[in-house]
Amino acid sequence: MKSRYLPLAATTLIFLLAYTLCYAQFPAMLSTRVIGNLFTDNAFLGIAAVGMTFVILSGGIDLSIGSVIAFTSVFIAVLLAGTGLHPLTVFALALVISTLFGAAMGAVIHYLEMPPFIVTLAGMFLARGMAFVLSIDSIPVAHPFYDVLQSLYWRMPGGGRLTLIGVLMLLVFLAGILLAHRTRFGANVYALGGGAATARLMGVAVGQTTIAIYALSGLLAGLSGIVFSLYTSAGYSLSAVGVELDAIAAVVIGGTLLTGGSGFIAGTFVGILITGLIQTYITFDGTLSSWWTKIVIGILLFAFIFLQKGILWVSSRNRVALDHAHGR
């Protein structure tokens, strides 16, 4: 097996193993309800994590997504409560704003040669601040169109629900996989993650690609905000705090290198499922402190950092051995 597939395989194996153990203790864990919940409850996190995967694959980071989600949800709630606009128009507006916001951060990162960490940190404060300026209260959304969207679900055998937002997340992952592996943009992202100088030599338009990556992340954060707004039927400026960190954790557990250049969108999907599974288990158990979620994710992150370092070390040693064998 190629070493670049190893982290993905490890993640998938851990997920299956963990699920089996959960099932052994609580047979109800293997029901369509739990599976439906895994998709619905993690929809907003999953969609944002797809954007985060692209950013991390390119060697960057985006700390603004949690705030953008909160901003979008408040923006939608305020507009729906205060104007007669149709939700679809409001959604489109929200997506345009979040995409431009991401693109602007990408432009600052590229043209001012600033570290993504600092730029997106500024973006994080900015978006959260804007959300608070719009409203400090939790604003309910009561629009008939929301009821229609929320009632769109497929009742699976066993009572589970495959909701609209759950399906949307699956579609975003699918689109993300195609974008990463079947398009020029995807190839450019991987190239950029290997090093900006090398990428430039390969003919990658670095500036354009950087801006596109952060715009994509902004777009998906905006979409995630729409999903969050559908999920809670409300907009609240204090919501989705720390979602960016959960997304980063899911990306790394999914086997993507934090240094960029290597990883899979599909891995992030499994990473999301693992996070969701841990939370479900803890609720099922009902006696463990919910902070165990954080502890287990911390342990998994450490394990994956070690795994990645190990793979890098082994593959570099193999290369040296190979070079020797060829007498170079």
Partner: protein, 320 residues
């Protein structure tokens, strides 16, 4: 390496397999907001105690102040097929769809301590205290104990604009309304904190002739009263005698002040929301008795005559 990381992930899950919960009569999921205040921690402790007392298997989930975590927990409870769900909602909005799912699965939901902005048929009942009533109980105690003599009252309000501050002020004013000898001469916010309560009381004392004109202090919570007691002592007066002290919440520390004769009365905001909730649930499941949509908890008055030291001993281990 692969094996190792797989092991790390599985350890926690495996460790609990052995301790699988025993079958019991009733399984109830409880989604708690978090543990942001002493009162909330006490509510969690009391809920656990009540569940144990009744042999109920309580599934506890701490949402860490996040609504998304509460929604997830509720969905997991539904998937697990619990018999009922207790919910202490972190915000009022956004519960419609998950409550509908619970209703579809025929799992009754009982709200604890706060309510939600959703249709009433989505939950069985809500168990909360009546904040206005709390203020009224405090005011009535004062009216009954002072009698006919002139009484100038100073008031320490809670955080400006917060619902407990508004409601507790209103209730107190209702109780003294029509009694000409009672007058609130000063009223300011002490932000529900001990430090601010002390500071504001100091300024009250200075403004009212060193405290000689003040007959009673009404504080919207015990913490502010405790701070004010300190200020009264420093001004050379006797709290509880020279100035009567009445407040709300009944946290453990106020009982020490009651025992020392430095406070006179406190109205309890009971952390036991689960007791009435379990009672209503059992009646509903066993006999089909549908409870009213709102169950008001008792706002019990404690005075120096109620053996405060004993109550302190009972309360101090609840996690306040």
């Amino acid at each position: 390496m692969l094996f190792k990381s797989a092991l790390a992930g599985a350890t926690l899950l495996a460790s609990a397999v052995l301790g699988a919960s025993a079958a019991s009569a009733l399984t109830v999921g409880f989604s708690q907001i978090g543990s942001e205040s002493g009162w909330r921690a006490a509510e969690t402790t009391v809920t656990r105690q009540e569940a144990e007392k009744r042999g109920v298997d309580l599934k506890f989930s701490d949402a860490q102040q996040k609504q998304e975590n509460q929604i997830k927990a509720l969905r997991s409870f539904i998937a697990q097929g619990v018999d009922a769900i207790f919910l202490a909602p972190v915000v009022e909005t956004g519960w419609d769809s998950v409550l509908e799912e619970a209703k579809d699965a025929e799992i009754p939901v009982i709200l604890l301590d706060r309510t939600v902005a959703a249709s009433e048929d989505l939950y069985l009942t809500a168990v909360t205290s009546d904040l206005v009533h709390e203020g009224k109980v405090a005011g009535e105690w004062l009216v009954n104990n002072v009698g006919d003599k002139e009484c100038n009252i100073v008031e320490l309000q809670g955080t400006t604009g917060s619902s407990p501050a508004i409601a507790r002020k209103k209730g107190f004013e209702e109780a003294i309304a029509g009694k000409a000898n009672f007058k609130i001469v000063r009223s300011q916010t002490g932000d529900f904190t001990r430090a601010k309560g002390k500071e504001v009381m100091e300024s009250f004392l200075k403004a009212e002739g060193g405290g000689k004109n003040i007959c009673a202090l009404y504080a919207h919570n015990d913490d502010m009263a405790l701070g004010a007691i300190q200020a009264i002592k420093e001004a050379g007066l006797k709290p509880g005698e020279d100035i009567l002290v009445v407040s709300i919440d009944a946290v453990p520390d106020i009982f020490q002040a009651l025992a020392a004769g430095e406070a006179n009365a406190t109205v309890e905001l009971t952390p036991n929301m689960a007791g009435p909730a379990f009672d209503a649930l059992e009646a509903y499941l066993n006999n089909g008795t549908v409870p009213p949509k709102w169950i008001q908890t008792e706002s019990k008055l404690y005075t120096q005559a109620d053996d405060p030291q004993k109550v302190y001993e009972e309360k101090k281990n609840l996690g306040y």
